[in-house]
Amino acid sequence: MTTTVMNKIALKNPFKFREDEAVPTLTPEQMDAFGVELDAIRARVIADLGEVDREYLYKIVRIQRRCEIAGRALFYLPVIGWLPAVAALSVSKILDNMEIGHNVMHGQYDWLGDPDYNSRVFDWDTMAPAENWKYGHNYMHHTYTNIVGKDRDVGYGILRMAEDQPWRPYYLGNAAYAFGLMMLFEWGVGVHDLEVDELVAGRRTWAENRDIGARIWKKVKKQVTKDYIMWPLLTGPLFPLTFAGNFTANIVRNIWTFNIIFCGHFPAGAQTFTIEECENETRGHWYYRQLLGSANISGSKLMHVMSGNLSHQIEHHLFPDLPARRYPEIAAEIREICERYDLPYNSGPLHRQLGSVFAKIVRLSFPTPRRKVTAVTEVTAAPMAA
């Protein structure tokens, strides 16, 4: 039985699939060759970056600004304007956070030399201050992707998203917490860097959080003033409607971003890792871990743009600093390489990835029954086809 077959079966029936059952592995030589192939793709894309990438970013920004201006303006039209206003503002916030903010803050456009889109300067239209987020996300999450105990995006310190996280009765509420996190996602991401769970556990001090907290407070004040005081006030008697509209747009954005991000890392088949497995890892192994820890969402071009091309989470994790609009064009190549190395390339339509994430959230709210360890070692030790 080869591992890829297992994975394919598993993906068809996410409810039955369990991680670690079939972690495909490569010999050190294969691992190095794999790394070299991916480095080559990266070098090629970097050499090709130019005016089209710049024009693309500017175009998305133009669309986002227009949606935002339209959204703010449509609130002046009571009744008929409200729904279009919320829709335009939601689109604006989603574009701002994903295709623009997330990607710019990854440094994907630093090479433009445009201070407006420089990773050190840019801030986005959400509660999380850029500076905090860049540490937790660009560094902790992208370096230690899916390493339980290191990558704080595994469960965000609230959920049980991996079997390696020991079960506690608290996790019986896994599904409820996930729902809450989804609705309040921008707040969750905002306070994420305070590592409240670590604080409660006594592994983190209040002093460590002082600057992080101060930045959050400053950003939250600004965001709240803008969406819940200033813009509603400007619409005069329509204040409550505008307030509700802005609130709704923020929630729509929260739901969408939560789902895209959870589909990128936690559907069935996406692997988690232990700290020991990743000690002294090579470049090839790093790529390998990024590949196995991520999952793509297939869909239309619009879906890719609205997800900031994070629907190509695999490509994003392999090359976090390449402009995301390049991910679709290299996806076929990555998939082909994976086939050659007999590595899984986890991709599926939104509804299937979502179903599988949901199943996992529910399944992991209960204790994980012990398994026979032998099965795992057997598969891992099996020789791999090149």
Partner: protein, 359 residues
């Protein structure tokens, strides 16, 4: 009035609160690139070729219409100009303003000599490729090399080569201010053909302005105390402004010794030797160390600095720092780059030769 009120509103805290976190300028420029509340940009309105000899780099005067945010400039000051040279990456260089003092929002000119040695070159772009109608990014005018508000009765201006631009601005301002004193202007150029502003200078000459255009390669005297004394008598007490390449400036400084009357400005092209070895200087901490060929991050740490870092493998950008000058090689890709004021990831960048990092 209306403009001032509009700007006041656009710069208000209320508008800032409405447009956070991006700021009002990032909305305004989508409506009209000439609208701004804080940033300074300009539209190129004219490009005039001053010197265009075959086989010689072109010299061009570019007239700029700045946004209303331009605070004006004083003769002698310079401005940073940023353009997307190859249609993609923005590159910024500093140029002296060549026109007379400007008021807020007023047009001004810069005069640039194309520098084909440096790629990408803002000056070559402006001299050869730029077209009226294009936008450029600006800083506000900067620099202390300026005429005082009350210009002394007797002054001396000395320039060499492209160093003429700030002095030309001063000369033009004096004309406009109807300065009644005595101005002596000495300019050193390679030959008469290389002389920019020739006709205008001829028109200015007389009326208290004494102009000496010198071409040492054609036998004119070099700058020396003897020559200055012959021309001006007790010259070292006369307020003097001098701008030009290093050899001329050294001669001027030697001639004036420690005189308080002398103000100078260098035209310093950044040097990059492009070979291993050399020095790394850390601009912010003032530390310096010999370049060992390792990455900037490793070398900075060895020198006792504690730069920020995350992954140390070029993916998280935590370590991004500004390289002021010098050539660095990306150890992952082997790519080299020598743009000044460039953001680099110091964990994957190794300097080749001299290098200045803002750490």
């Amino acid at each position: 009035m209306a403009v001032a009120l509009g700007t006041r509103i656009l710069r208000s805290n209320a508008v800032a609160a409405l447009t956070t976190p991006h700021g009002v300028d990032r909305y305004l420029k989508h409506i009209n690139p000439m609208w701004a509340a804080h940033e300074v940009r300009a539209r190129i309105v004219d490009i005039h070729h001053e010197v265009d000899l075959p086989g010689e780099p072109r010299v061009a005067t570019v007239t700029l219409q700045p946004t209303s945010t331009w605070a004006g400039h004083r003769a002698g000051q310079h401005v940073s100009v940023g353009v997307e040279v190859d249609g993609t990456r923005r590159t910024t260089r500093v140029f002296s303003v060549s026109s007379a003092d400007s008021k807020p929002g007023e047009r001004f000119t810069i005069t640039v000599r194309a520098n084909p040695d440096r790629v990408p070159s803002v000056s070559s772009f402006l001299a050869y490729e730029a077209k009226p109608g294009q936008m450029v990014h600006l800083s506000q005018a900067e620099g202390d090399f300026v005429l005082p508000d009350r210009v002394p009765e007797r002054i001396v201006l000395i320039s060499g080569g492209s160093g003429i631009t700030p002095l030309m601005s001063m000369l033009r301002s004096l004309q406009r201010r109807t300065h009644r004193g005595q101005v002596t202007f000495l300019h050193y150029a390679r030959s008469e053909d290389h002389q920019i502003f020739r006709e205008e200078l001829a028109g200015i000459a007389g009326n208290g302005v004494d102009i000496h255009l010198l071409h040492p390669e054609a036998g004119d005297p070099n700058l020396s105390p003897a020559y200055l004394t012959k021309l001006l008598g007790e010259y070292s007490e006369i307020p003097t402004w001098a701008c030009g390449p290093a050899p001329l400036m050294e001669a001027v400084k030697a001639a004036y010794a420690d005189s308080e009357a002398l103000s100078t400005e260098y035209f310093q092209p950044p040097k990059s030797t492009g070979v291993a070895g050399g020095q790394i200087s850390y601009a912010r901490t003032g530390t310096e160390s010999a370049n060992s060929g390792e990455t900037v991050l490793e070398q900075a740490e060895a020198a006792g600095l504690t730069p920020e870092f995350g992954c140390r493998m070029g993916i998280c950008f935590s370590c991004t720092a500004t390289k002021k000058s010098g050539l660095v090689r990306n150890v992952l890709t082997g790519e080299t780059s020598e743009l000044p004021d460039e953001d680099i990831r110091i964990c994957v960048s190794a300097p080749e030769g001299d290098c200045v990092i803002d750490l």
